[in-house]
């Protein structure tokens, strides 16, 4: 056990809170331990900002709710407790021909966390969000009641809980519909492209025929090369004969907190240039295991420590289709002007399948995700500038990644937030929720 388990992935903000483990789904919630404070369900701490934190309150750690309940290998219907990690689901189901319907960029999130944050992945344009594949779940409330939720039962709680940031209750278990696959591999193609226009052309041309698409951007490139990067697309591999590509079992761990962030101008330039040039040809095609394809960063355990103890911010915005080309260009230009690069810059087009979630983040258009080391005011000012671009383009910021957006922006861009109060558990609160709602 390295470090404090009860912090978010960005390790910002730092908070004071207590925690209680939940062990059995049939047990009532230990509300007596909460007394006059509030509590918040906690999964595996992979959201970046403060949606998983409850400063001055209590966390109910759901990670030990990790029992499988039912798996039908004929239909791909899978039911488990909410603390099961996506990695644990895959370990069980891939060999039997089933994959997650939607997965985020790390497999170390819990099923409950994936629902509460209504996560999306490289297949959003085809499959929508995680919540759209949740057949049903059970919600535990502080008054001892249990609410069975599905599209047909308690539909309003179902919608408020998907993307509901844990505020409606503790998800005890959930049932999801898995996606059939032939094997553990992805038929992948990586295309080096030269600028933002090429990105949009590639993305539009790929989203029909490729299940998964995403681009990594060299965000230090400027001018005519602005937005250049690698476009990665793939489909679940067909049945194939012959030798399967090998999967490295090596797992690195980032063992210490460096005294300062190791991400700085020099290392960024080096990494971005090397990564852009990592392949000799403009197009590389081949079979890869699902782990490096979906979870390249999971190979480095605790990679968030590379940013030092002050932590980092992720900025992820969604921009509606009509405005996306201009807004993404402007965001990238501002990064260039600021001279603060993002180690990871990921760009993807969202599809138009609406999520049932009241507070779900994706919208038809484009999404850009950026990481910045926490350099205090300077970083916050830069992110405020990004907000201006996002705001005027009619876009919004992802709460699961956020630690600093303004209450006005949240309330305007997530107009359903007022409906949440009808379904929230009166004893649940989070640092995020207080931050974006109470100061209004």
């Amino acid at each position: 056990m390295v470090g404090n388990r009860y912090q978010s992935w960005g390790r910002y903000p730092k908070v004071n809170q207590e925690a209680r483990n939940l062990y059995w789904r049939d047990d009532p919630l230990p509300v007596e331990a909460v007394a006059d404070k509030t509590f918040l369900p906690f999964g595996n701490g992979r959201s970046y900002g403060d949606v998983c934190l409850n400063d001055g309150g209590m966390l109910f750690d759901c990670r030990h709710l990790d029992h499988f309940i039912h798996f039908d290998a004929n239909t791909g219907v899978f039911r488990c407790e909410a603390g099961v990690l996506l990695s644990e689901v895959l370990q069980l189901t891939v060999a039997k021909g089933w994959f997650l319907p939607v997965t985020p960029g790390t497999q170390f999130v819990t099923v409950g966390g994936a629902i509460a944050n209504d996560v999306h992945g490289k297949n959003h344009h085809k499959a929508g969000t995680f919540g759209q594949h949740v057949r049903c779940f059970e919600l535990l409330r502080s008054d001892g009641s249990r609410i069975f939720c599905s599209p047909n039962d308690n539909n309003k709680f179902y919608k408020a809980t998907i993307g509901g940031l844990g505020l409606t209750g503790v998800i005890a278990w959930a049932e999801i519909q898995l996606q059939p696959v032939h094997n553990a591999f992805i038929d992948q193609e990586i295309i080096r492209y030269k600028n933002l226009d090429e990105f949009f052309a590639l993305a539009r041309g790929s989203d029909e025929t490729f299940e998964h698409t995403v681009a990594w951007i060299d965000c230090l490139a400027k001018g005519k090369q602005l937005g250049r990067g690698l476009f990665i697309r793939g489909n679940y591999a067909d049945v194939f004969e012959g030798k399967a590509p090998t999967l490295s079992k090596m797992r690195l761990i980032f063992p210490v907190d460096p005294p300062f962030a190791l991400i700085n101008g020099l290392t960024l330039k080096l990494f971005n240039t090397l990564y852009y040039r990592k392949q000799w040809t403009d197009r590389v095609k081949g079979l890869v295991h699902y782990q490096p394809f979906f979870y390249p960063l999971d190979a480095i355990h605790a990679w968030n420590r590379i940013y030092g103890s002050k932590g980092f911010f992720q900025y992820q915005c969604a921009i509606p289709t009509d405005e996306m080309e201009g807004a993404i260009r402007e965001l990238l230009e501002r990064i260039g002007e600021a001279g603060i690069g993002s180690f990871l810059a990921v760009l993807k087009l969202f599809g138009d399948r609406p999520s049932p979630g009241l507070l779900s983040f994706p919208m038809p258009g484009a999404t850009l995700a950026l990481d910045f080391p926490n350099n205090g005011e300077k970083t916050l000012r830069l992110l405020d500038q990004f907000d201006e671009v996002t705001r005027s383009a009619g876009g919004r910021v992802n709460p699961s990644k956020d630690a600093r957006m303004r209450p006005e922006d949240f309330q305007q861009r997530y107009p359903n937030w007022t409906k949440m109060t009808d379904y929230m558990d009166p004893h649940i609160s989070s640092s995020f929720w207080r931050r974006v709602t109470e100061s209004s």
Binding site: W24, R25, H64, F68, I69, H70, F71, L92
Partner: protein, 245 residues
């Protein structure tokens, strides 16, 4: 694939270990007190690959039922290859000091209950002439300390009982494994604040499975506790009695 009996099957260490048994395809017979938790555990292990999962509810304090539950396991699985005994409670030392009733109950659960089960199982395995008996004891059983000597002496009794049993059963080809976990992050220890020395049940399980395969006699989990306990046991009693441990 083994025929495996797990007693105290809903405990955190037993569950984590039984998951490895299930992944290896074992046929399992699970025994625990709470029927609900037993069912939750059984469903989980079945999905994880156990070739069969059977359950029986038993309160270990109900000594009269020990023989019949063990007989049921032997009959249902058509013989046993491996037994893991993992039930137990951690009594509050201060409560024990005020009440012999609480002390007695702690002994009945942690020492006598285990010894009763082992008495029946030993005779079965001795006659069978092969198999493994693995029992969760504790580092607390190595030396009495003021902070938990009731739990410690109960576990100490189990450790010494197992030494004798091992001595007796070796010639019958039966392996007896005493496991002494140190600090493990489980519901039993939920109210302790956890530091660096705490291990996860899944880590304990991985090592336990390896110890069973190697037919080890006695082992600490994590392994470095062997050194810590070597030092603890080496301290002369005249000094030890003055320490606040």
């Amino acid at each position: 694939m083994r025929n495996t009996l797990v007693i105290g099957a809903t405990s955190a260490i037993a569950q984590a270990t039984a998951r490895l048994f299930a992944e290896a395809g074992d046929a399992l017979f699970l025994v625990a007190r709470d029927v609900n938790k037993l069912a939750v555990t059984a469903d989980d292990l079945k999905i994880r690959g156990a070739s069969a999962v059977h359950t029986a509810s038993l309160d270990v304090l109900n000594f009269d039922r020990h023989q019949s539950v063990i007989d049921a396991a032997i009959e249902t699985l058509d013989g046993l290859d491996l037994v893991l005994i993992a039930h137990g409670t951690l009594p509050d030392q201060k409560d024990c000091e005020q009440s012999f009733e609480i002390t007695k109950k702690a002994f009945e659960i942690n020492a006598l209950g285990t010894i009763s089960l082992l008495t029946h199982l030993a005779n079965y395995f001795e006659q069978k002439g092969e198999g493994t008996i693995a029992v969760i004891s504790s580092v607390a059983g190595d030396r009495g300390r003021q902070s938990n000597y009731v739990y410690g002496s109960a576990k100490g009794a189990v450790t010494i009982f197992l030494q004798g049993l091992r001595n007796r059963l070796t010639k019958s080809g039966v392996s007896v494994l005493t496991i002494k976990p140190a600090f493990v992050d489980t519901p039993m220890t939920a109210f302790f604040s956890k530091g660096l020395l705490w291990a996860k049940p899944s880590a304990v399980a991985t090592r336990l499975e390896r110890l069973i395969a190697k037919q080890t006699d006695e082992a600490y989990i994590p392994g470095y506790w062997r050194l810590i306990m070597l030092v603890i046991r080496f301290i002369p009693e005249s000094i030890f009695k003055k320490l606040s441990l």
